[in-house]
């Protein structure tokens, strides 16, 4: 009797303690501070995480360490990553990560050429030089051109638009929310550019930013992660309605990180990133991953890898475990 009572009290105490305990989540976005991550900054700044009994630390990657590496090394609990990169990491590097929310629903990838070059169709890119980031994000551009039967010379670049502006390449792969606006902000007018949006090509509107964690973290802290996702989405809703506040926050972060920043550019980015959140014509709820999108992304990765290692199958359920309502 006494033993039972003690056990019951201990269990109750443990329960109370567990309830009151705040969980720490270290979140690593995949790039330096910018408007792409405004929703998370707002959730933190507005105390949405705190309200959910979470202590969230946002840690940005450095030149030396990517967010994915932070996840692997255990420096981060949750990372933000493009679907293609998440999937690639899971397949090729066999990192046991799972997608717990898919925020972006659309592709913002595009090719741009100078209108003066006369390259106004994808076909005209044949045998031309196309700049592409050396740091990844290159699978989709390669797959699209391959599917269209266009042979180009890819020129790896770091992260600047100068090679394109100087005329060193005929085309450049850009994100609509980022490099495209940088080109415009370097004095090139929109009508001086030809634009090829990936989302205009069947099967290439692959979603981008999603939230990922390791399977083991998911198993351990599922409730906390669910709260994190919920508070993050609340943060995104908040910035949608409070753009200037969000920009203040972003600019402050960037200044702290000693990053060159322009409010105009960050505003553009925020508009596009927020716009990406809406499913629009896709039959999926906000925050969820459409299985068809997953399948297309998987096909692209597998078809690229077909000459190499054996085809790996990946069930949708084992990659996608949504913590979104």
């Amino acid at each position: 009797m006494m033993k039972n009572l003690i056990l019951t009290l201990m269990a109750l105490f443990a329960l109370c303690f567990a309830e009151a305990q705040t969980t720490t989540i270290r979140f690593a976005p995949q790039w330096f501070p910018q408007a792409q991550f405004a929703g998370y900054y707002a959730a933190l700044d507005q105390g949405f995480y705190q309200e959910a009994d979470l202590e969230v630390k946002i840690i940005h990657p450095t030149d030396d360490e990517s967010s994915m590496n932070m996840l692997i090394s255990g420096k981060a609990d949750v990372v933000s990553s493009f679907l293609m990169d998440g999937l690639t990491s899971r397949l090729s590097q066999e990192i046991p990560l799972v997608n717990i929310a898919q925020l972006s629903q659309h592709s913002t990838l595009m090719f741009v050429t100078k209108a003066s070059s006369g390259i106004d169709t994808l076909k005209a890119l044949d045998n031309k030089k196309v700049a592409i980031w050396s740091s990844g994000f290159d699978k989709l551009p390669r797959a699209l051109l391959e599917e269209e039967g266009i042979d180009v010379e890819f020129v790896p670049i770091y992260n600047s638009i100068n090679l394109f502006l100087e005329g060193g390449v005929d085309a450049m792969t850009v994100m609509y929310y980022n490099e495209y606006d940088q080109i415009i902000n370097s004095g090139v007018n929109e009508d001086e550019l030809n634009k090829f949006f990936f989302l205009d090509y069947e099967g290439f509107d692959i979603p981008e930013d999603g939230l990922y964690c390791l399977q083991q973290t998911l198993d351990k802290d599922k409730d906390a992660l669910r709260k994190f996702v919920k508070a993050s989405l609340k943060g995104w809703e908040y910035v949608d309605k409070n753009r200037e506040y969000a920009l203040d926050l972003v600019v402050e972060k960037m200044n702290k990180a000693r990053l060159a920043n322009s409010r105009a550019h960050q505003r553009w980015m925020l508009d596009k990133v927020v716009g990406q959140l809406a499913p629009m014509d896709k039959n999926v709820k906000q925050g969820h991953l459409l299985e068809a999108d997953f399948q297309r992304a998987l096909n692209i990765i597998q078809s690229e890898a077909r000459s190499g290692a054996e085809m790996k199958t990946l069930p949708f359920d084992s990659f996608y475990e949504p913590l979104v309502d």
Partner: protein
């Protein structure tokens, strides 16, 4: 000030003209001053910008020579690989403007095992020159702008400015020069020599342009990034294009595009935050950057505007003074005029001898006074003269009235003239055109059976004609009883009148003697209008025209005597040319025909009625026209012998 006074008119007109002239002169002055100021600003901006560019180029240009020479040395094999670090260290020491220098080679070109080979000399945080090798998985320099662009484009390249890695305020740009090697006879890029140049000195040079309160300069990189800007938060963060977007200034974007395309231009731009500005920009040829100098228009034209307002205020004050002074002058000048006007009114009331105002010293007023005096005198004389003339005229008029009464008294005016004579009735009238006339008629019984009657018209009018008429009538009365023949009477009358007739006056004259018992009519017509014979119920006709001349012209003229018999109830109508030649306003004469026609229609009326009807008809014809000649008519009706009277 009353409207329409002389001073109002002069003031308004003169003021208007002064205002117009002032506005024109002022506009021209303003326009030219403004243009000059703008031109001065343009020159100032151009020289300021060019000076600044020159200062920048003084640093940049010599630095460009270093990697260019080094490239040549490397290609010539003048720098052995084992002495690269000491060489680079020495280079940094010798060239203080350079903060780092790297010779970066193509992958595996030096050592087949080594992808990255890039000896690098730089200043460490303590300010000592240090060396190491650049490159590795964390720094793939082959895809960095400073390496990739000069290699791919095979041209020298100034990078966009950047902050030094590892923090600090080190603000850098790099200049890269590709160098080459020969492989299989082909010229091939072997690598890139890059020097880093600190840009902190740039800010000092460009900021030194801020001389005036709001004038400033800014420097744009090739991509439009603010390299320097008075608002430090813009530096490296904003491009002129993002700035333009934030300010929503499309024109600013145009300026930016002109700047990064290397144009030199002065232009006026209106910006929402600082208003209208003049921007002059000119490129920095080496780096392809662009320097802009901004002059707020308010500041350029501030002094001009100040002066303008001062001048406008002074001009308005001047105009007020001018107005007051002009009004006073004009009032002083015109005071005599109103006094003269007062005098004129008094003179007009008849007081000619009023003293004239003795004011005004100007020639015009003196002349006016003289004229007034002259007018006064003349008026006085005229009035005196007029009084005399008027009394003389009144005397003549009264004499003429008396003369008329006398003249009218000379002709018989009592009708019926012979109440006891049954055989005839007679009516006559004479209406002179003037007070006294030259027409005459007369009738009288020579004896119991003979009626003498006459009608005449003296040439001319007025007093002479009336005197001649009086003479004629008097002669007729004295001659007729002695002669019973019209011819003899007229002959005698003619001779009497023709003698001593120096004024050559004459009289047309008809004289008839009717035997009232027999109806026998003897008559002589001396140039007078033929009378009309009215046979009651048997037509009316003129007497025949005779060739006898008027009386009084030629002495001893032999007049003819004619004879005809008058029947019972015949009427004879006599008249002077005042009837037939009565004129209406259209200058149409009453005419013989009209008279004949009228008389034909009234041939059964009594002589008095006939004369009244003719007079009425003539007056209707004449209408409002003035009566120009005497109207004289006489009508005789013959009732036949005394025993026949009852049948009339």
């Amino acid at each position: 000030m009353r409207k329409n006074t002389l001073s109002t008119k002069i003031i308004t007109r003169v003021l208007l003209i002064i205002l117009i002239i002032g506005a024109v002169v002022f506009s021209i002055y303003y326009y030219f001053t403004r243009a000059t100021l703008e031109e001065m600003t343009r020159q100032n901006a151009a020289s300021l910008a060019n000076n600044t560019v020159h200062k920048i180029e003084m640093v940049i240009r010599p630095s460009e020579k270093i990697p260019e020479n080094l490239a040549w040395m490397l290609e010539a094999g003048a720098v052995p690989h084992d002495s690269v670090f000491p060489f680079l260290k020495q280079l940094l020491k010798n060239n203080p403007s350079i903060s780092g220098c790297v010779i970066a080679y193509e992958p595996y070109s030096i050592d087949p095992e080594r992808k990255y080979y890039a000896p690098f000399a730089y200043y460490d945080k303590q300010g000592n020159i240090d060396t190491n090798y650049l490159g590795g998985e964390d720094l793939n320099y082959f895809i960095r702008d400073w390496y990739q662009i000069p290699v791919m484009l095979e041209k020298n390249y100034w990078t966009e400015p950047y902050f030094a890695e590892g923090g600090g305020d080190m603000f850098l740009t790099s200049y890269s020069v590709p160098f080459y090697k020969r492989k299989n006879g082909k010229r091939q890029v072997a690598g890139v020599i890059t020097i880093d140049i600190s840009l902190n000195w740039l800010t000092d040079i460009v900021n030194s342009v801020e001389i005036l309160e709001t004038r400033y300069a800014f420097l744009l990189s090739g991509n439009g990034v603010y390299v320097t800007h008075p608002d430090r938060s813009n530096i490296m963060n904003e491009t002129i294009f993002t700035h333009a977007k934030e300010l929503d200034e499309p024109k600013m974007r145009e300026v930016g595009r002109d700047m990064i395309s290397g144009k030199s231009k002065l232009r006026s731009v209106k910006l929402k935050d600082i208003g209208s500005v003049l921007v002059y920009h000119t490129p920095i040829p080496s780096t392809k950057w662009s320097l802009g100098v901004v002059y707020p228009r308010d500041e350029i034209f501030a002094n001009l505007h100040q002066l303008t307002w001062l001048m406008i205020a002074l001009s308005l004050l001047g105009l007020v003074v001018l107005t007051v002074v002009t009004i006073r002058i004009i009032k002083g000048l015109t005071r005599p005029l109103s006094q003269f006007a007062q005098s004129a009114r008094v003179i007009a009331e008849g007081n000619f001898n009023i003293a004239l105002p003795d004011t005004g010293k100007t020639e015009e007023i003196k002349e006016l006074r003289t004229s007034f005096e002259f007018m006064q005198r003349e008026l006085d004389n005229y009035i005196v003269h007029l009084k005399e003339t008027t009394s003389a005229k009144e005397k003549i008029e009264s004499e003429l009235r008396i003369a008329k009464e006398i003249q009218m008294g000379m002709i018989p005016q009592i009708f019926p003239p012979f109440p006891n004579l049954n055989q005839i009735d007679l009516f006559a009238m004479l209406e002179p055109a003037k007070e006294v006339g030259g027409d005459l008629y007369d009738f009288f019984m020579i004896d119991d059976t003979h009626l003498c009657f006459a009608i005449g018209d003296v040439s001319g009018k007025g007093v002479p004609a009336s005197l001649f008429m009086a003479v004629t009538r008097t002669l007729l009365r004295s001659l007729a009883p002695k002669q019973n023949s019209p011819k003899k009477i007229v002959d005698s009358l003619n001779n009497s009148l023709a003698q001593g007739n120096e004024s050559s006056m004459f009289v047309t004259f008809f004289l008839g003697i009717l035997n009232v018992e027999t109806g026998e009519l003897k008559y002589t017509n001396a140039g007078h209008n033929p009378p009309l014979m009215m046979h009651e119920g048997d037509g009316t006709a003129y007497f025949e025209i005779t060739k006898d001349i008027p009386v009084g012209l030629i002495e001893n003229f032999e007049y003819t005597e004619l004879e005809r018999t008058i029947h019972k109830n015949d009427r004879i109508f006599f008249y002077t040319d005042g009837i037939t030649e009565a004129e209406n306003s259209k200058e149409e004469l009453y005419s013989d025909e009209k008279l004949l026609h009228l008389l034909t229609s009234i041939e059964s009326l009594s002589p008095a009625e006939i004369i009244q009807d003719v007079e009425k008809d003539v007056k209707i014809h004449v209408g409002d026209n003035e009566q120009s000649d005497d109207l004289t008519m006489m009508c005789v009706i013959y009732y036949g012998k005394s025993e026949d009277k009852g049948n009339a």
